[in-house]
Amino acid sequence: MGLIVSDLSKKYGNNTVVNHISFEMDKPGVYALLGTNGAGKTTTIRMMLNMLSKDSGKVLWDGKPLDTDTCNVGYLAEERGLYPKYPLMDQLVYFAGLKGVSKSEAKKRIKYWAKRLEVEEYLYPQFSQKITQMTTDRRGKLYAPKTKKKREKPKLADQLSKGNQQKIQFMITLLSDPRLLILDEPMSGLDPVNTDLFKDIIREEIGKGKYLIMSSHQMATVEEFCTDIMILDHSNAVLQGNLNEIKKQRGRENLYLKTEQDITSYIEAAGIRLISEKEYEYDLKVESEAQANRLLGMLIENGVTVIRFDLKEPSLHEIFVEAVGGEKHVIQ
């Protein structure tokens, strides 16, 4: 059954912000909601989650209107924060409690996720105390000297870096073990190490059979996970469908060539568009695979050494850029 979003629309006065958006997720996986700034992604998500009223359309989960009662939804909003002056542990227990997770169960889950997201030292002050108290003896052996115990105060949100705050926010999203996860720009502002950590967790959640809707401007990241996409531009869905199908339909149009000499004249002769060139490395846009093969034949015939010949499908980035500049193109 999964998720069905049909004919979602929203107008503010005469200004249409979401125009008859529909999509489905009939099996677990990742659906990417992409779009230019102000295209209507966040409004669509807010309408799906009943935060905003809809002018038209419906959102169903397993045949019933999507609601906090019908589906356990975890939402990591693009604009996210924490109570700055309250202890983190209290906040986590509170958010879990709002989702119906008991205090004891919440504490177990917090412990698991704190370890997984590497934020134990901020949630368990005694943990950092254990680490800092360790020292080495004369033989270089690690030991914990007996010192007067000083009780550390629990950390407050505003004492954490932005990245660590983001980890706590992600933890809040995951604490109730939601069936449907909606992640709006989940990795914005993260360093590469933490981006990988988030990616691992997202992979794990997909592996657990979760439904994920991801909205991001980091196309490479989205491309790693998503099976289906929708590209929004000025409140309209300009492209949507299975990513592989979209790519297949476009064909292999990106040609990367690395040679040992200048081949610009051959490229011109073959009628191929040159995108960029750097020290005998060429990024080309071909109209068909035959056109690429013709160029390769010309190079071999003329004794040009070809180090690399890579004919690729368009990237999601290219699809996106093309879609927001082109006409509506829907693959069902």
């Binding site: 009223s53 996210r80 924490l82 109570y83 958010f95 709002l98 109730s176």
Partner: protein, 442 residues
Amino acid sequence: MSFSKAQLKGTKQVFSFTFLSLLKNKANIIAVAVFLIAGLLAVPAAMLLGGRQISAAPGAPVAQVQIYNETDLQIDSSRLAQSDQDFAATGFKVMDDTAFSGDTRELSEDEAAAVITEGKGETYQIDLYTSAETEISSEDMSALESLLQEEVKTAQYQKAGLSDRQIQLLNAQYSTQIGTVSDVVNEDTQEQGSQYGIQLGYAIVVLIVSIMAVSYIIRTVVEEKASKLVEMLLMSVRPLALIAGKILAAMAYVFGIFILFLISLLISYGVSIRIFGLPGISELLEIVRQMGAGNIGPQIPVIMIISMILGCLTFAIIAGLSGAGCSTTEDISGASTTVMLLIMGGYFVAIMISNVPSRGLEIFSALCPVLSVFCGPVQYAMGNISAGMLILSWVIQGAVILLLALFCAKVYSSLIIYKGNRLKWTDMIGLARNKTGKGGGR
């Protein structure tokens, strides 16, 4: 939009979290401590500033009185202790078959000796003695003299064979008043003056409690919005539950402080009764009753608290809506303007009305929603309105709260996810009518 139970799911968790947050807040802990200390010191400080002296002997003005009864009258020591509350803790000891030696050095600093003798023609004389270093004040000695005179008179009546009832009638207190015609005409004005005093005191309490509740609510709502937490919260809890939990938590906190303050004041007064010889609670109520508050009694604190809860709830919903229309903490002062004006307006009008003797205004102030918070309990206590009218004022206030809650249910979800310049009330009404492009929640 109408209420449903599902819309309030999560209120308990929001209430607990907000209430505990308010309790743990350092500034709030200091505020509570200040309130408690102020309450405990209030009465003694007022007494001392008013020039009242500390009683020489806390508890009893005279520790012990030795009574040398040289007459055939039956002096009852237990009756002496019971007939005047000031001497309730004084030990009266009738020294049977013993004559006073006349040596006052035998008396300690807080002791007195009373010698009752019979003169010619069935006249009686009371001689009071203290030691040279006595700590007993002349006022207390005078009061003791009056007490003994009354006891001798009662003993005389008993000797004459009068019944207890007859003695009670003969001993009954009466008062006289000498004055001019204009004094009688001004009696109403004096009663009006006392109503003004009671109204002023009560209105100040309502003002403080309301402003505190409103400030906490606006602050918690705006802080949550400014912290960008609302969208994450709305995944688990409905907007109505979110605001209801916050309002109830802030009110529980403020009323908790208020009740603690009342308790500390009571303790303060209780201690002052002994230190400064103030009248007891029942005597105090009697004094207030004599000032014209005909309905004063133990039910008044309950009535006060019900009225204040209803009033604060009204102001709290307005404060919650104002707070939700803000996007940053800088908007807090602007957001609180409307509700503060409403509270201050209610306060000043209530004070003014209490100074104008008019039956119509009395009823209007008791029934008008915002004014009734300030005036209802006072008008009832003064006997100006009946219990039925007081209940009617609560019903009207309740209806206003219900209307505000319905309005809140309609616009609150749009308001809390709204970002931008602070919304005005006209914008909010537009939201409720769905005529604006600033939101439109569930």
